[in-house]
């Protein structure tokens, strides 16, 4: 068989294999993405055509006080979750990796369990536990602050509490990633270090930490992207309140699109959030890589 002939056959096979994915990708991702971009330059309602208004939506957005409030709340939430969840996951992973065999599997399952729950169940559980009158956690709060607090109706408590719920919910996955990373570090490195005279503290900082760093950086980046997309927990727990203290960008987009019927404006918000996530996560990943090389 000639070379050209074989090449043609290979191409046909390749085309056949990627066609299904390409089709789904185009219909359900590429086309909607294009639509959102196009929509963001119009004054269209949620359904139906609008007229081209150029950058007017973006200009309006950058003059929107609420947008800056939302953006700030997003970054506040990132601050409350990304690093804490990684640190907690690392501590749990280190502790769990000390356990043996079946015990380890059991404990790992327990930590992973919340991740399996749907968000509505998670928020339901925590709404009950933190209920102002009957919540079993209220005595604890009362013990610390002196009186019970309706946490999701309190402007100071609302974001940190949503952060706590989110960490509880998603931490298991990070633990899993970090455990996998820890298992990849050969045991004999620790033995060599012990012979070299390293204390357990030094073993952590000189071996575990640098060798786990690629995984830690991955967890940090995944968390950053995930937490910037915060919506469900806010929507279900506090609905953006009180006093917009938990109002976030996706919440604003949701309101504009599905409650105020401003499809064009909502699309512009989505585009800006998308841009922010791309920039911030790429920036962070690069920073982390430089940090690792040093």
């Amino acid at each position: 068989m000639s070379k050209a002939n074989r090449r043609r056959r290979e191409l046909r096979a390749a085309g056949l294999l990627i066609a299904p994915f390409l089709l789904v990708f185009t219909v359900f991702f590429l086309y909607p993405t294009y639509k959102v971009i196009a929509l963001s330059f119009t004054d269209a309602p949620l359904i139906g055509e609008g007229t081209w208004i150029g950058l007017a939506n973006y200009v309006k957005l950058f003059n929107d006080r609420l947008f800056y409030t939302s953006l700030w709340n997003n970054f506040y939430f990132v601050l409350l979750t990304v690093v804490p969840t990684t640190v907690i996951a690392l501590l749990i992973a280190l502790a769990v990796s000390k356990l043996k065999g079946r015990m380890q599997a059991l404990v790992l399952t327990l930590f992973f369990l919340p991740y399996v729950l749907p968000v509505s169940v998670v928020t339901m559980i925590w709404t009950w536990m933190l209920d102002f009158q009957f919540g079993i956690l209220q005595p604890l709060i009362a013990a610390v602050t002196g009186k019970p607090v309706p946490v999701f109706k309190n402007p100071y408590w609302v974001m940190p509490m949503i952060a706590v719920v989110t960490i509880w919910w998603t931490n298991g996955f990070n633990v899993l990633l970090l455990i996998a990373g820890l298992r990849n570090i050969p045991q004999d490195l620790y033995e060599a270090a012990a012979l070299d005279g390293a204390t357990s503290w030094q073993r952590f900082w000189r071996i575990t930490w640098p060798l786990l760093w690629p995984i830690t950086a991955l967890v940090l980046t995944l968390q950053l992207i995930l937490q910037l997309k915060l919506f469900d927990q806010v929507y279900l727990l506090s609905n953006g309140g009180p006093f917009n203290q938990s109002y976030v960008v996706l919440m604003q987009m949701y309101r504009e699109a599905f409650q105020l019927n401003n499809g064009g404006y909502a699309s512009a918000i989505a585009m800006v959030l998308f841009g922010i996530i791309v920039i911030v996560s790429v920036l962070q990943f690069q920073l982390l890589r430089i940090g690792a090389r040093k």
Binding site: P186, D188, L189, E191, A192, A193, A194, L195, D196, G197, A198, Q202, R206, I207, P210, L211
Partner: protein, 361 residues
């Protein structure tokens, strides 16, 4: 009496219900090169790791120098270990790998620099100090691992099959370097290996381990010339010794006449001090290199496989009774495959064992 070296007293180790080391005594004088050999799974690594402090000792006492270190931390024992896997820190350069212990001890920069460079000089690693382990060849990695041990200037070096990941040529080279290093440093070294040649060439003393005990220890040639039981006889020497069942047919002036069970027309007059009674069943051990091909009568071997190594060849075959035989041929290169050869042993170099495997002398 135990002022230097490594001394084990009735040391035992069990993993749960499994006893791996069942009472080992050994004395390794300062500056000696001791080698542990034994079949896979006999506990060589475990014993070495117990000396290093990486495994707890279930019972008994381990002393290094005059100190009882049985329950001390690995770092406080003054030992350095070279792992089979090298265990180099992948994120650190060669220099930092070797400097690791000094950095932990917070030694001054000048001292670190000097010690590492001296070790690198000994091991010919000076040009590679800035590389990461992944950028080195197997032999270089091995040298870095040894360098890391040298820098610590330990009383005792421990090696767990350090050359087994290297190819044959590099192994020979590293073996020589290790021997040289031992002369140069004069430190006590304990070395675990599977390799007969490594054990025979490097060791001052070989410890043959099996079933959780030291079967025999001594200088390499003493073990070869005078094994104290059938296991050691079979283990030391390559290819391993032939064993044939025989019965005592009669007594001579200074020994016995033993009749081969597999070929009753053959009997040998063997010099022995303790003469077992007539009719006793024995096992005769003959090394492949002590069996000579002869034109006269002897043991008839049907050769089925010939291993030609150039200088020597090993002929594998069976006796008439079905017992496996290996004999060595030097120089001659006739295809013996499929033929029947007649061989006779050197009578003075036949080893006699009783049924339980103990040597009869």
């Amino acid at each position: 009496m135990q002022d230097t070296g490594v001394h084990l007293r009735d040391v035992t180790k069990s993993f749960g219900a499994v006893d791996v080391i069942r009472g080992v005594d050994m004395d390794i004088p300062r500056g000696q090169f001791a080698v542990f050999v034994g079949p896979s799974g006999c506990g060589k690594s475990t014993l070495l790791r117990m000396i290093a402090g990486l495994e707890d000792t279930s019972d008994g006492q381990i002393a290094i120098g005059a100190r009882d270190v049985t329950h001390e931390d690995p770092a406080d024992r003054g030992v350095a270990m070279v792992f089979q896997s090298y265990a180099l820190y992948p994120h650190l350069s060669v220099f930092e790998n070797m400097a690791f212990s000094l950095r932990l001890a917070k030694r001054p920069r000048v001292e670190v620099d000097e010690k590492v460079r001296r070790a690198a000089g000994i091991l010919k690693l000076s040009d590679h100090l800035d590389k990461k382990p992944a950028q080195l060849s197997g032999g270089q990695r091995q040298r870095v691992a040894i360098g890391r041990a040298i820098v610590r200037a330990p009383d005792v070096f421990l090696f767990d099959e350090p050359l087994s990941n290297l190819d044959a040529e590099l192994r020979v080279q590293m073996r020589l370097e290790l021997a040289r290093l031992h002369k140069q440093l004069g430190a006590t070294m304990i070395y675990v290996t599977h390799d007969q040649v490594e054990a025979m060439t490097l060791a001052d003393t070989i410890f043959v381990l099996q079933g959780g005990h030291v079967q025999q220890h001594g200088a390499p040639l003493d073990l070869y010339d005078d094994p104290s039981n059938r296991f050691v006889a079979g283990f030391i020497g390559s290819p391993s010794m032939n064993f044939f069942e025989a019965t005592v047919a009669g007594h001579t002036k200074d020994g016995i006449t033993a009749q081969l069970a597999g070929q009753p027309d053959q009997s040998f007059d063997i010099p022995l001090r303790h003469r077992p009674e007539q009719g006793t069943v024995l096992v005769l051990g003959m090394r492949p290199e002590h069996l000579m091909v002869t034109a006269a009568g002897g043991m008839r071997v049907t050769v089925d496989v010939a291993e030609e190594l150039g200088g020597v060849s090993y002929q594998h075959g069976t006796l008439e009774g079905g017992e496996a035989v290996i004999f060595q041929q030097t120089g001659a290169r006739h295809g013996m495959h499929g033929t029947v050869q007649t061989v006779t042993p050197e009578l003075a170099r036949i080893f006699v064992f009783d049924k339980s495997g103990d040597r009869v002398r």
